[in-house]
Amino acid sequence: MFAQFFGSFLLNEGLVTAQQLAKALDDKKNTKTRLGVLAINAGYMTAGQVEFIHQVQSTVDKRIGDIAVEMGFVTKEQVEELLSKQPQDYLILGQTLVNNGVLTNAQFEKALADYKSFNQLSEDDLNGDKTDKLDKIISDFYKVDGVDTVRYSSYLTLLFKNLIRFVGDDFTPLSASVVTCADYENMVGQKVKGDNSDAYTAICCDTDIYVKFAERFSEEKLDTADDFVNATVGEFLNLHNGLFIVNQSNEYGEEMTLEPQEFVYKTAVDFDKTTLDVPVAFSFGTVHFIVSNL
């Protein structure tokens, strides 16, 4: 999941445009990480050294790794180590942006260093989806006054995991805002009833994006926002909310229940409790997740 937040960081820093990012997210399934990006990430080579090797390689018929070893930039063991590891998703995204000419190796190097220091992440943290670090990135990213950050970030961390698992990993979380109203073409809402208070959750977006989201989750070809599309988006919300309340029940012994979903079309919905609108930009459009009074 670091890839999604790395993408979001690049976007917020103005290093990529939303369009460039969406294209890279789309392209990255065909990307193979190359030694240069892996070595920059591991801190074995600087971007300057990588550029230099690429220049040398254009004049001689040798592999990048061999040139790097000959130049004394890295050892043979380091090359083997880099190539043997499964590349992390954020590196594949970085490599795609470099391949697409959006970032230079030097810009990638700087962005990666800034991102790691900004979030106090080590190389180890980025290997795998360490929950505590992810929770911190997510709670920092969605820090809002008057909101129980721990609760919201565990809801959102699970949401992003479920999006990756059931919808696709080609998305970028955008900055959230506190809202009093949701006014989108389509909305699926579900009340989550707790011991003391009730929360409200919803998925909203415009119709063409709504259909695309349903297509992804159902793995079926869909054309119009009919009852089946409503049921599909509604089932994703229900599935996610269900997994959330199961986690809360297991971890804190808190018992919550869900109500049947409701479907709203072209009608604004007002909220009187603290409500977060969390936009998530997929390559097919932006989907808004509403979390109220959680």
Binding site: S218, S249, E255, P260
Partner: protein, 125 residues
Amino acid sequence: MTINEMTVMICDDSMFARKKMKDYILSLGVAACYEAADGEQAVENYKEYKPSIVFMDIVMPKKTGIDAVKEIIEFDPDAKIVMASSVGTQNHLKEAINAGAFEFLQKPISNDQISKLIEMITKGV
């Protein structure tokens, strides 16, 4: 009972959830697959069709899956009902088992889980 003598009923308010499950269950070669979109319909359809196995959601309009299980069991104590729900909290689990369900599956439910249960029923477990 062989698989082509078996009948199945899926109770879920989500048309999407029903379709996904039904497509797979029909592909296994069962005799019939009935649907219900809420708890009331689930009870009515059970009485009418007496399916060999029922997959029952919990959160549904009109009548919850738990209440539907209680009524079905009252009508037929041997009914084979599997809860298939997104809300597998400890309370729901206890309620479902107390109501008479024999198994509880947390969504998302894999085809593998479905086929194992159907196989169990064919062996008369």
